[in-house]
Symmetry: C2
Subunit: 326 residues, 2 copies
């Protein structure tokens, strides 16, 4: 990790060396603090979720804020844990019209079109994607959305390319090339991707889009087939192991077979309602530190790694999070 | 699922309808049966691992057979559970020269070059990969390794393309185009990919390649940076939840902090040594059923899915497994 041997740096080294200016504070009012019932041996189980920022999924995010304000989530439960897929929580009686917990007034029905953010989007400084060519010096993580060069190895099997928008991994569809000389593109559509730890909105069959009363977190390999088919409303930034290590449900698609297996949710609060909550920061995905981190995720070369991968997929770049003073 | 509405079929429908001839029996002598100590509530915890077939990693597979024959694994433990990464098991005293369990004689030191299988490889009938174009009818899953058309959406951010070799997901590097007319390629190199549930060989820094005495299974998003850097020796085909739902280790890189947290491994036997073991079959990755399954994993279109993904990555195509008579 010597300064004169940058090739041997690891992704963690780059994160550790990132200057303070490259970290962004997450507003406590954008955090959900979900306290599960303590574990069998009495340990508290807290999960902290960052709500997704605009322009993504804001109709559902608004509903979730109303559900928290109404204390609606207090007393619901984790009802489903499907291995290599999702942990899901909601009203265990939600499908029973006589026993379902009434939803608060004022929730909105969001349109399916809102799975995708459209139009001239500012999706951040760095965009990755392209055709599979081995990158040349200066290729990696150096493009802006309005000057995309389709020449990198960060291809996305589910979209034209990927980027990070305010810390969120997003898939990108480009508009018609514009301008002269080198091909220049604008971003036409972008949508958040179902990476490990992302939180989405359970729903019934289309055209239902869900309210936000039923939520899930991804606990396996990224199920990207869900992109543009369900709303992503945030990501777990602390306590992921309190969801991912839960016993798997042995019923159909991972539902718990008996009520006794369910894990009670004691309360869900906004971060600004919780005394003593640490502050949380993410490594700005517009920063040069993040670009170097992505590059190193794609090209490990140190005492352990024999063969740099030469590429990396959108969901194999976990956005670094750290605790910090509020 | 009506016969006249094939567009609404799900991947599971295709698997359920696959003819018997499309399923391949896994020889019990190619299975590792690992019995962990029972859970706190007395439930047995069995994990069944299929060893990887030739031409991949056979030096390490040979070592593992010797370690089983010597009963060397009996009494070791799960020592590390890192969220979204790996569960690892081995000799807890393996790093302690005076307390380490002696390895049996006859283990071989395998060369790093054996992370990759080279030469004229038969990697099966179906190969996916390419440049990102939306596929035309007939494009999907119709190519042979010797007639690859680089025109599909199944791109791999870590290699030129991917395929399945005898049920194992592999990344592929092509040789120089040969032949006339449409571009024709041969397979030059192929290597198994670190998908969810794959089992690899723990090792020290390069050039050490590990013996097989320390193993791990992937329990999160595919850490493909490990491809060509560690040997993959198999995949979990039953009992994955007995590894993936273990409590996470809170020490450095997920090691358990105290010996009490470790999970004892009672025994590891070859499948043909275990009375009453079910037979296991995988859906032949050379079959038309598998090609239809991959296509449907890439293009979900049913009552739930609004927007077919239009692509799928190598690790988001779990190879179907079923129990069957031996």
């Amino acid at each position: 990790m010597a300064e004169d041997a940058p090739a041997a740096r690891t992704p963690n080294d780059i994160v550790a060396a990132a200057p303070a200016a490259d970290w962004k504070q997450i507003a406590p009012s954008d955090l959900l603090v979900m306290d599960l019932a303590p574990s069998a041996d009495g340990k508290p189980r807290r999960v902290v979720i960052q709500l997704i920022p605009a322009p993504f999924s804001q109709g559902w995010v608004g509903n979730i804020r109303k559900l928290v304000a109404a204390r609606w989530y207090d007393g619901i439960a984790v009802v489903r844990v499907q291995d290599n897929y999702v942990v899901q929580w909601g009203d265990p009686e939600g499908e029973n019209p006589t026993k379902a917990k009434p939803l608060p007034k004022g929730l909105v029905a969001v349109d399916e079109r809102d799975y995708v953010a459209s139009g001239a989007l500012d999706i951040g400084k760095y965009v990755w994607g392209g055709s599979g060519r081995k990158p040349a010096e200066g290729d990696v993580g150096v493009t802006r959305p309005d000057s995309f060069r389709p020449s990198m190895i960060f291809s996305d099997p589910y979209a034209q390319l990927y980027a990070f928008a305010d810390g969120i991994p997003v898939a990108v569809q480009l508009g018609t090339p514009a301008g002269s000389g080198a091909q220049r593109y604008s971003v036409q559509n972008a949508w958040p991707t179902h990476c490990y730890g992302m939180v989405g909105v359970g729903r019934n069959n289309s055209p239902d889009t869900g309210t936000g009363a039923e939520l899930y977190a991804v606990i396996g390999h990224a199920p990207r087939q869900l992109d543009r088919n369900v709303a992503i409303v945030g990501r777990v930034i602390s306590g992921m192991e309190n969801l991912s290590a839960l016993p798997r449900g042995m019923g159909d698609i991972g539902f718990y077979k008996s009520p006794q297996e369910r894990v009670a949710i004691r309360s869900v609060r906004m971060g600004n309602e919780v005394t003593g909550l640490p502050g949380y920061q993410y490594l700005s995905t517009d920063s040069d530190s993040f670009a170097a981190y992505v590059d190193k995720r794609a090209n490990r070369q140190d005492d352990f790694y024999v063969h740099p991968a030469g590429g990396v997929d959108a969901c194999n770049v976990p956005v670094p999070i750290r605790e910090a003073a509020q």
